[in-house]
Amino acid sequence: MSDSTTLLNLGACAADIERPRRLLFRVGALFLFGISVFPSTPAGESATVPHSNAPLRPIPHPDLSRLESAAQQRIRDTRAELNSMAKAGETSREALSQAYGQMGKLYHVQDFLGAAEMSYLNAQSLAPADFRWSYYLGHIYKNKGDLERSIAAYQQALQHQPDNVPAILGAAEGHLSLNRHERARPLFERALELDETCAPALVGMGKIASSRRQDKEEIRYFEAALALQPDVNNIHYLLAMSYRKQGDLDQARIHFQQVAMLERLRRGHATAGYPDPLMEALDDLTTGWRHHWVRGMRAFGKGRFDEAVKEYRTSVALDPKNPIPLTDLGSALARMGDLKGAVREYAQALRASPGNPMLHYYLGTTLMGLQSEEEAAKHYQQAIGANPGFMEAHFQLANLLMRLRRYDDAVPHYAAVMELDSGFGSRTPESSPAGGQIQQMSVLARFMRAMALVQLSRHEEALAILEKGLQVFPGHADMTHAVARLLATSPDDKIRNGMRALQLLKGLFEGQGDLELEYVETLAMAFAETGQFERAAQMQHAMISDLQRNQRFDLARLLTENLSLYQRRQPCRRPWREDDPIFSPVASAMDLPGPSSSTPQ
């Protein structure tokens, strides 16, 4: 089938119909003998183009089946229109060129590069002076990795529009990739003559300077580009590497940190950009809910939530009962702070996909942000009901129950998280701060389960859980501290051990500069427990004075209670105050839902 189609199109203009191989060979043979087939091609869909002296190329038929129906239909309609124009003998070359160009753009935007290439070549053949077709061909060849032809296509485009900056950049970047700096340089310079704010040209000039070891020039260009486009990861990286090369590690680090942050948050732009109306026009040609949904996800991934909302809304309008774009619309609204809007969309998605545990989870998380805690708890419970292995739902519900002081209810959900994470701490939220403490959900669940048990005065159990955690994660600061505090202050005589608390705290403090206030507070508690009341009081007093100096009278007041205990030579027997924030884990921005799925590689 495909063979015949390919052959059929040899020397024809826009054939959609399969035909016998015998006929095709005849056509091919004519072509081989140098006879133009166009004047004599038989009737049918492979109509001739009497206006052209050059043979047009066959347009392949890509497999459209994996596209959504709206996109398929649009391509079929356009191809049918092209066929009928080609059949009509009186069609002007310009009109046919436009039709081929339109066909090429539709294939191009769907990533059918082979079909797009042939369509553009035909358009170019029919209207050689039209800048667009050569320009698009430049992009097609670049995407195919054929940089020589890409450059040639851009150069051809520039013959018709010598001052077109995107085409100049296309050719220049092609030369740069091929190590032809001497040919890239004048093109970048020309782009800068035409527009001195052309950041990609500045980047290109910087790269050329870098290859010539012109360190100062290199940095000057990159800094100039950054001033124009400050959230471009690529420029920060180039600067970081330049400063590193020059030995200015402080400056390098600043830019490396920017790179790390932008990469982690997947914000900003990957590379310096320049307005490209022709390429932007391609995007407007696509249709279908999936297309807009994918575009929405792309924007979401870059942190451009308003743009994502717009795309998701279009997607929803095209397929109103589809829970996928509805869900992601909700998530994008949540990220923009429109939590009520998010709840509305999630609820709509839930109607389209009843019982969906992920949607219940999203609703729970969003309702938390609206302080509707009881409602949120219901949704988390429904999420767990639909999927008992939903670790995140267990975790969020447990945190919520802690805030609602339902410690008894929270404990089994934290336990479920620990049980479900068979890898024990192998799963970490993508957005967890790189290089920070281990913040795995199961580690936090272990810690919070212990805290819930503390609130229930089940200190021995709490201590056992924390001690087990320390065996797996030796040196974990929060767990070490919690163990020390229980050892120093628990009313349960069986577990109290002031000396060990001091040892643990000593280990915790080693190598640390600034100490957490609560760690120092625990140290005072441990001193008191070991009978060193003067030191305990001294330390407590110092902390209070420090807090007062910093206008934190609220905290200072809380510390005076223990100070008076120590002054009376009494140890503390209450590990944490009941209202200690440690018992009320708060939802962070990290907990807000992301896109429900994502694009492939």
Binding site: M1, S2, D3, P60, P62, D63, R66, L67, E68, A71, Q110, D111, F112, G114, A115, N143, K144, G145, L147, L176, S177, L178, N179, S211, N233, N234, H236, Y237, L238, A240, M241, R244, A252, F256, V259, E263, T271, T286, R290, H291, W293, V294, R298, S422, G423, F424, G425, S426, R427, T428, E430, A434, G436, I438, P474, S597, S598, T599, P600, Q601
Partner: protein, 585 residues
């Protein structure tokens, strides 16, 4: 130093690829022939991979497999291990498979014993025998790759098989059979592809680094679409990356999970390729982890049992444009012969494969375009790869194995049943910082278009040049015998411990020529993609027929030298038998 030479020869006679083998011209080693020739079928390797795909676009179905070249029976030649797939998907049977299985179930990994025979005229016959059944290895998981190393210092190399599912460690019993043993707490059920054996704490026992990919489950697959909205495979960014696992050998062949203590567990990258080497030249083993669409990681050994991740500042986390790339296969080697370990990794179509040159202190610079490796690789998606001096001219060349992960339009329109296949590429190092693609001259096997994944590299016929095992997804395994390496001189080395009869993975070898030119190589089995390589060190000498000095930096920290080693043959160097240059730190 005549007494040293005598000792070396004495040791050399008793070990793998010893000097008795001299030069074994391959049975296909005609001058003027293709650079490589596939002899898999002819030599008895009748393996075809089954990926278990049923049209559901399961992520894992197009990510394997790999394999191993390792001498499991200590008979002096490299044997072959190939991992197999299984039917994928709940309630799916083999009847649902889009491509039929190559054999009746059960499908399992296979072990082929190399029965290399050297003829009286010096030519060699390569013959493999399937010994899976008698080996006791019953690996029935969905295989991804393999790693090889002697975990109990008994002189018999053991095998670690990575799976989509639980990984398996097979201890070599020394009698042709293996016994499965557990690793750590047995919780290593993450999706792993590549693993590396090395001795990170210098205690003389091989430790194990396992690269884990993403948290993907067949029971809850996401539906993914291409950027144009067509249904397609999901990419790694669709799933949370998993942290890698690091196991410390307790000194008895059993392992303790030290992922957290070492700091390794603090990063999640979605690892596909892993290579260990001393990147900053401090004498301690570091790691480079190639992550798929996330920044790559460079783990620098802190010499106190912990590691610090430094890839970003080192300049090898991202490409020259500060972009993450879809890193798959990776290798380290001294590409420019300046005495440090450079890096090369394979990437997705429309990205380039990337070359990072090391400045000697562990700082890298992306030299992809300058080396002319960039543009040539853009039309391909690469997986297995290695620095290999295929022509033994003293400069490390590059082989990149290809196969797409998303439908190729041109193949789809031809109704190709598996439209992911691409030809592989071979690049010749010109010795001036640049490479020239020599794929067209490499032989008929390079004209094939397949979905290649793993590649294992080693001298299978013991003739002194590097052969290649290519493991294809949904296709046959290929064994590429090198036809041209022996046109140049070479030096073959096997490095064993003083009291430990195992290959000293991580040892650095400096080969010094008259005039002072020095080549750096190292003992390793890791690198590439889900594959284990020949631990022997093969050094191409070009037209030089003499080596002044061989200096070995052992993983424990001591440095020894040997002089005037014989060329064009393998010699075994045992720690303690050379001239001590420096003791352990």
């Amino acid at each position: 130093m005549p007494q040293l030479n005598r000792l070396i020869l004495l040791i050399g006679l008793t070990t793998l690829g010893s000097c008795t083998s001299s030069v074994y011209p391959s049975q296909t080693g005609d001058a003027g022939a293709d650079l490589f020739q596939d002899v898999a079928q002819a030599s008895g390797i009748d393996f075809r991979h089954f990926n278990g795909m049923s049209g559901a676009y399961y992520f894992c179905e197009m990510m394997g497999p790999g394999g191993a070249l390792f001498d499991y029976d200590n008979d002096g030649d490299l044997d072959v291990y190939l991992v197999q797939g299984q039917m994928l998907g709940p309630d799916k049977t083999l009847d649902d498979a889009l491509f039929p299985p190559p054999q009746k179930p059960p499908l399992r990994d296979r072990l082929f014993r190399n029965d290399l025979n050297v003829n009286p005229d010096g030519t060699a016959n390569l013959r493999f025998t399937d010994v899976t059944a008698q080996s006791g290895i019953a690996s029935l998981g969905y295989g991804m790759g393999a790693a090889a190393g002697d975990i109990d210092n008994d002189g018999w190399v053991d095998l670690y098989v990575t799976n989509f599912g639980k990984n398996r460690m097979y201890r070599n019993n020394g009698n042709g059979t293996f016994t499965e043993v557990s690793v750590g707490d047995g919780a290593d059920t993450e999706w792993s592809v590549s693993a590396s054996f090395m001795d990170y704490d210098r205690d003389g026992w091989l430790d194990l680094f396992v690269g884990n990919y993403v948290d993907y489950e067949l029971s809850n697959p996401k539906k993914c679409y291409s950027s144009t909205g067509a249904i397609d495979y999901c990419g790694p960014r669709s799933y949370p990356a998993q942290s890698n696992r690091f196991y410390r050998n307790r000194g008895d062949g059993s392992f303790q999970d030290v992922s957290s203590q070492t700091g390794i567990a603090t990063r999640h990258g979605g690892a596909l390729g892993v290579v260990s080497a001393d990147f900053n030249g401090d004498g301690w083993i570091d790691f480079y982890v190639a992550n798929d669409q996330r920044p790559n990681h460079l783990w620098i050994n802190q010499k106190n049992g912990s590691y610090r991740e430094e890839a970003l500042v080192a300049g090898c986390a991202l490409n020259r444009d500060g972009k993450t790339e879809a890193s798959m296969g990776v290798d380290a080697g001294d590409l420019d012969n300046d005495g440090d370990e450079d890096l090369f990794m394979t990437h997705l179509i429309r990205e380039t494969n990337t070359l990072y040159l090391n400045n000697g202190q562990g700082w890298f610079e992306d030299q992809t375009f300058e080396s002319e490796l960039g543009v040539a690789s853009m039309p391909y998606t690469g997986f297995g790869t290695a620095f290999l001096d295929y022509d033994n001219d003293g400069w490390l060349d590059i082989l990149a194995l290809h196969g797409e992960v998303a439908t190729i339009e041109a193949l789809e329109k031809l109704r190709d049943p598996y439209p992911l296949h691409q030809p592989n590429q071979l690049f010749h190092n010109l010795g001036n910082g640049r490479f020239r693609e020599v794929t067209q001259q490499a032989g008929a096997v390079f004209k094939l278009s397949e979905v290649s994944r793993g590649g294992a590299f080693g001298d299978v016929d013991n003739d002194g040049d590097v052969d290649v095992l290519i493991v294809n997804n949904n296709g046959p395994a290929r064994l590429l015998v090198n036809n041209v390496g022996t046109r140049h001189h070479w030096l073959g080395l096997r490095l064993l411990g003083r009291d430990i009869p195992r290959d000293m993975l991580g040892a650095r070898v400096e080969v010094v020529f008259p005039g002072g030119l020095t080549l750096l190589r190292r003992v390793r089995t890791d690198g590439s993609y889900g594959s284990a390589n020949d631990p022997r060190v093969l050094v191409g000498l070009g037209n030089r027929n003499r080596v002044t000095t061989v200096r070995v930096s052992w993983p424990g920290g001591s440095v020894e030298e040997w002089v005037d080693l014989p060329v064009d043959r393998y010699t075994t160097l045992q720690a303690g038998s050379g001239r001590i240059v420096s003791e352990n730190e």
